[in-house]
């Protein structure tokens, strides 16, 4: 019956990091992809307007649509953040519960 708090805290930290490693790796390339896509879309829009392929009304309409697309993409970052916090906390708590169960 041993309960080494230092080892348990270390295991909790490792469990939390291990549980979210894959999700954390997703974020930087995805954020880059979002802004690369946005850049391409806005560039195409500006070029189309300058070339007269679309009217000013269409240009304004497309800008509003791009804003909505960007909002949808950013909401995924919010979901990832919440999921990361949830997985990390639950993994850490599980380690603590298992350790205390073993000790008693």
């Amino acid at each position: 019956m041993s309960f080494d708090i230092n080892t348990i805290i270390k295991d909790m930290k490792n469990a939390a990091v291990g549980a979210v490693k894959d999700d954390l790796d997703i974020v930087p390339p995805y954020v880059k992809k979002i802004f690369d896509n946005e850049k391409d879309a806005l560039k195409a829009l500006a070029e189309a307007r300058l070339a007269g392929k679309i009217s000013d009304k269409e240009f304004q309409r497309e800008l509003k649509r791009e804003k909505k697309v960007l909002e949808a993409e950013m909401l995924t970052i919010s979901i990832i953040s919440k999921a990361i916090a949830q997985k990390a906390i639950n993994a850490a708590i599980n380690v603590l519960v298992d350790a205390v169960k073993l000790a008693i």
């Binding site: 309960f3 999700d23 997703i26 995805y30 979002i34 896509n37 879309a41 195409a44 829009l45 189309a48 392929k53 679309i54 269409e58 309409r61 497309e62 649509r65 791009e66 909505k68 697309v69 909002e71 949808a72 993409e73 909401l75 995924t76 919010s78 979901i79 990832i80 919440k82 999921a83 990361i84 916090a85 949830q86 997985k87 906390i89 639950n90 708590i93 603590l96 519960v97 205390v100 169960k101 000790a103 008693i104």
Partner: protein
Amino acid sequence: MIIRKQKYNYWFILVLIVYTISGCRVQYVADYDDNIRNDIISIAEEIDMFYTLLLETTEADRTYESFKEDYLDIEVSLRSLLMKNKIRPLNEESTRQTELALELWLEDKEAHKEDDTVSDFIINQHRSQFQRIFIAMAIGESVKEE
């Protein structure tokens, strides 16, 4: 005697901690749902097929009437996904993403109805916009805990 009493107190606290947190699980987002993920992929395919068919049709033949049924089918699929997302607790972001997809789809439908045609440029822009939204939805669903 005092040491023995402190030892009992220590174990009592540990048992209390286990009892308190063993059923404890924090939840900030909805659980992963395989059916929702499949719906996301399926509607993304429907929309991609719609734009592919639109591009294959000559601009003069891209009348609203020729594509009205497809607009309505996809609108129903999006409304169904929205309802499924709305009834899941802790699912505000996925619900809003579906609302945005539906708003864009209805705007597309109205613009097509008004102009009675769609240019290649707009088709390509809108196809790319929906791909981005559906990728965002699929990633958002896949990171949720099973």
